[in-house]
Amino acid sequence: MAAKKNKKTEKIKEQIEPASSSLRTRKRVILSFPPSLVQTPVTYMLAKEYDIVSNILRAEIAPEESGKLVMEMDGLPENLDKAIERIKESGIEITEIARKVTFAMDKCIHCGACISVCLAGALKLDKDFHLEFIEPKCTVCEMCVTSCPVDVVNIDI
């Protein structure tokens, strides 16, 4: 039974995006729980319903009191958006911490190694073979950060 279900989700994932694994992206969020909702099993819900892996970076939660949670969510972009909506609806306050990648272009040697891992299509060479970053397409998956041999790509939080 479980296997069957798995297969089904696999199929759905395939329909959404064929390159699921590499198109996953990460978002950092701050959750503020009112006292009544402190016990909500958020990370379980994220994993089960949205295939999101949560990495808790900081937690200040005491039972019967309001709590704060800073965490990183890793999943497909559209799942992340849906999950954030869902959390909001449940009465938990959620704010995104903006992350973006920046390129120290003066150090860039235009080799293209980062382009090879950018399945979102946010990186390409222009007609003179210089690196071009098309930021609106960037899903902040961070694959380019570790692929750059000369340390040009940084993450800004």
Partner: protein, 386 residues
């Protein structure tokens, strides 16, 4: 039309040589035809700005007082190897004991920038070399000399790497994403010196070349030299083939063209710029320079199997690769370079300027590159052959 190197050198000295970069030459041929090119152009400049792992730096220091015979040495914590009392050999892939991303290639880059570096040495403590321990800061100016041996200064071609497995692979060809999601290639293709002179008719031992802004010399064939590699219909090998070894003094290099790098889960690499002028001596050489990316092929290799012989997915051209999508096993796959085309183009321009300003003259090779060697395999053997 026939020309000799010395005739062309006379023209250079008289300020009358006609020099084009490889890109300019190819567009001239496309616009004005092959005959015009053959009759009017003396030299075409070619280049690559590529990753390199087969390089060593040779450093000769002055003596200390009391005298020292190096035994264990590090520069900025990167292990270097004694090659005489005050001589060191530093492989570019040697890396720091406390930061695996900092390597001999970074040391080289910093030396060329003129930065101060930290030398730490233990001496052998011999009768006439009694110095047991020595530490100092030094820079390029304090060295007797520094020489770089690029044992694969130029590689005629390279493969295309991809991965049909289920797991991403970090390799010397970058990160290869599972299920044929991407592929990487590593060549300046139509700008590559050995694509424009595929049988080393003008390049040989003793050829004067441009290495990162300094003058260098070809010393012979290089690491993994494979001149017998299969060639396509246009004489270009379909994978790694001829390689050239070169030396150059580091003193006059420009750090823009010497960059220490690190590939994830692989290790240190050196990006180095190399430029080679090709004299248009006759029609045969002119016609090999006419080659364009649609006539240069490479073999697509599946990295999912970590063995010496890997499965392949056939050939593709560099025009396909540079269009950013290549069909592999019928699947459109993202293709991206690892070698800097922008860098190579700039180098061809710089080499052209050096020639026009009479700073770089051609040199006739002293002897030819060995074109009849096979690449060997290293297999394990349980006993000596008697």
């Amino acid at each position: 039309m026939q020309r000799t190197c010395s005739e062309i050198n006379e023209k250079i000295k008289a300020g009358k040589a006609s020099v084009l970069t490889a890109l300019e030459a190819k567009s001239l041929i496309a616009e004005k035809g092959f005959k015009t090119f053959l009759n009017t152009v003396d030299i075409v400049t070619t280049a690559s700005f590529e990753m390199n792992t087969n390089s060593v730096l040779y450093l000769n220091f002055g003596q200390t007082d009391p005298l020292i015979y190096f035994s264990e040495v590090s520069i900025n914590n990167v292990p270097a190897y004694p090659a005489g009392p005050t001589d060191l050999v530093l492989p570019c892939v040697s890396f720091s004991k406390d930061d695996h991303k900092y390597s001999g290639a970074n040391v080289l880059e910093e030396l060329i920038k003129g930065n101060d570096l930290h030398l730490k040495a233990i001496g052998r403590n011999l009768e006439v070399f009694p110095n047991k321990e020595f530490e100092t800061w030094f820079n390029l100016k304090n060295l007797n000399h520094g020489r770089l041996l690029l044992n694969q200064a130029v590689n005629q071609n390279n493969i295309v790497a991809t991965n049909s497995g289920d797991k991403d692979i970090n390799s010397h060809m970058g990160t290869l994403i599972a299920h044929l999601e991407n592929s990487t290639y590593n060549s300046s293709s139509c700008l590559n010196p050995l694509v424009n002179d595929p049988f080393c008719k003008t390049i040989g031992i003793g050829s004067r070349i441009w290495v990162a802004g300094a003058t260098g010399y070809i010393v012979g064939h290089g690491s993994n030299h494979n001149p017998l590699q299969k060639r396509n219909d246009f004489n270009v090998p379909v994978g790694s083939a001829i390689t050239l070894s070169a030396i150059a003094e580091i003193g006059n290099m420009n750090s823009k063209w010497v960059r220490g790098g690190f590939l994830k889960s692989f290790g240190p690499v050196l990006y180095i710029g190399v430029g080679i002028p090709i004299p248009v001596l006759n029609e045969e050489i002119a016609s090999s320079i006419a080659i364009t990316d649609d006539k240069i092929h490479s073999t697509i290799v599946d990295f999912s199997i970590p063995r010496r012989t890997k499965p392949t997915f056939g050939l593709c051209t560099y025009s396909e690769l540079r269009s950013s999508t290549v069909l592999i096993n019928k699947k459109p796959t993202l293709s991206a370079p690892l070698s800097s085309m922008a860098g190579a183009i700039e180098i061809t321009q710089l080499v052209k300027e050096s020639i026009l300003s009479k700073n770089l003259l051609l040199s006739e090779p002293i002897s030819a590159i060995n074109m009849n060697v096979e690449v060997k395999k290293l297999d394990s053997r349980l006993a000596e052959l008697v």
